[in-house]
């Protein structure tokens, strides 16, 4: 019987973690340490619910409710001078708490401050698009949908952006294996040649370090080649010499001599 591997998080895990080891935390400080951030936080708190706020690595992080997203971002853009949405994406916590954590990274150029707005949504909860506020969200939300399957309402063009249009599965979820599920591994063969070609072409070879000394068709015998189909003998390690051109030379083409070296340092003395 094979060992049970949980399927809700198939990413690589460290093979050993000390049982009583507690990971340290990156320092968080209270928002009151920074006057500018405090003013912004109060502006948000005045109209919306904030569940948590702190400063980490010189940037304020504010947790809000997903319903308030458009409102908070409008407030930040119009009143608090956060004119650019640098980035928006999601973090997959489906295994731990069945939710996605969205983050919106804002930048204020006049105040030279960066702010992160975060919220938690359920797996099938939809959010409102902020692309009417910031056009950069247009593509970011498409990418978020493509990679995580987060549903976004009122988006001008909600189609997959990085994966092909007919892809099944949301790659950045923790349940999606790095090397792709079965649909992914046969995608190009199915699309170009059809399912019948799967046997002809064969499965993908994903073992990067596989070396087979009897393999005359791949790269393992590089430099020590034998004729096609011949048996490589154990003791014959005859290196195939580098031969740039045929021995007798080619008509009108200058014979290439590898000992005829041009010093490139010559060209640097201008």
């Amino acid at each position: 019987m094979r060992a049970y591997t949980p399927k809700n998080d198939v990413q690589k895990k460290s093979y050993y973690t000390d049982r009583y080891w507690v990971a340290p935390q990156v320092a968080k400080s209270a928002v009151s340490d920074d006057a500018v951030f405090e003013a912004d936080l109060n502006a948000i708190k005045a109209k919306f619910d904030v569940s948590e706020a702190y400063i980490q690595v010189e940037q304020m992080v504010v947790y809000i409710k997903p319903e308030d997203l458009v409102g908070v971002l409008t407030l930040l853009r119009d009143e608090c001078e956060y004119t650019q949405l640098s980035e928006l994406s999601a973090i997959d916590w489906l295994a731990k708490q069945g939710q996605f954590e969205l983050f919106y990274q804002m930048l204020s150029m006049t105040k030279r401050k960066r702010l992160r707005i975060k919220c938690f949504i359920d797996e099938d909860q939809a959010i409102e698009s902020v692309s009417s506020l910031f056009r950069s969200a247009d593509w970011s939300e498409r990418e978020m949908y493509d990679m995580f399957g987060v549903k976004v309402n009122n988006h001008p063009f909600m189609k997959r952006i990085l994966m092909p249009d007919d892809w099944q599965g949301h790659p950045l979820r923790k349940t999606y294996p790095l090397q792709g599920d079965e649909f992914a591994s046969w995608y190009e063969v199915d699309r170009i040649y059809g399912k019948e070609a799967r046997d002809v072409i064969g499965p993908e070879i994903r073992e990067s370090a596989k070396v087979d000394r009897y393999d005359t068709e791949r790269f393992s015998r590089l430099g020590y080649e034998v004729p096609f189909g011949a048996e490589p003998k154990a003791a014959d390690a005859e290196k195939t010499p580098l031969a740039y051109q045929e021995e007798e030379g080619v008509f009108l083409i200058e014979k290439f001599d590898e000992n005829d070296v041009v010093e490139s340092a010559e060209f640097r003395k201008r």
């Binding site: 790659p171 090397q179 792709g180 995608y187 070879i205 031969a243 045929e246 080619v250 290439f256």
Partner: protein
């Protein structure tokens, strides 16, 4: 898998004695290989560098053409992703015979460092390849060596009938 027409043994082991016409035709073909610019990723930059001022490609008679109809060798330089696989097959089909493919760089040979869901693990899953060029990214001189190898290979082929189709499936 790509069937191999590549002969791993040395020049002396040619199976066929070539006629003069073959020789002349092959000489012409090998020395005016027009390449299809298929720079997909970082190797494409090295391919451009190998065609630029220091490592010139024009001395091989190779000009980079953008259209598959006018080119003979497709140098696949860079990572082939599954989204793009369909298009490389289309472009390969649009090239006229005789045509050859050089797979440049680790990503085109075997998928390279990107052992992920979106990368085709080697261009030869989709199109038949004549020459594999390892490196990440291979130096421009390496690409030029590959072109010289391809020229040698072309000169050793039979020119009379159209190339035996390299059946991928």
């Amino acid at each position: 898998m790509a069937q191999h027409q590549v002969n791993y043994s040395q020049d002396g082991g040619l199976p066929v004695a070539l006629t003069t016409i073959d020789k002349v035709v092959n000489w012409g073909r090998s020395n005016s290989l027009w390449a299809l610019t298929y720079g997909l990723a970082c190797c494409g930059i090295e391919m451009m560098a190998s065609g630029a001022s220091r490592y010139d490609f024009d001395r091989f008679g190779t000009i980079f053409r953008a259209s598959p109809r006018q080119s003979e060798v497709m140098i696949v330089a860079g990572t082939l992703t599954k989204k793009h696989a369909e298009f490389i097959k289309r472009l390969y089909d649009q090239m006229a015979e005789p045509r050859w493919v050089i797979s440049m760089g680790s990503c085109a040979n075997t998928g390279g460092m990107f052992n992920t869901y979106a990368t085709v693990q080697g261009v030869d899953r989709v199109i038949p390849v004549d020459l594999y060029l390892p490196g990440c990214a291979p130096r421009p001189e390496t690409l030029q060596y590959a072109v010289m190898m391809l020229q040698k290979k072309i000169r050793s082929e039979k020119a009379a009938k159209a190339q035996r189709p390299k059946r991928l499936m």
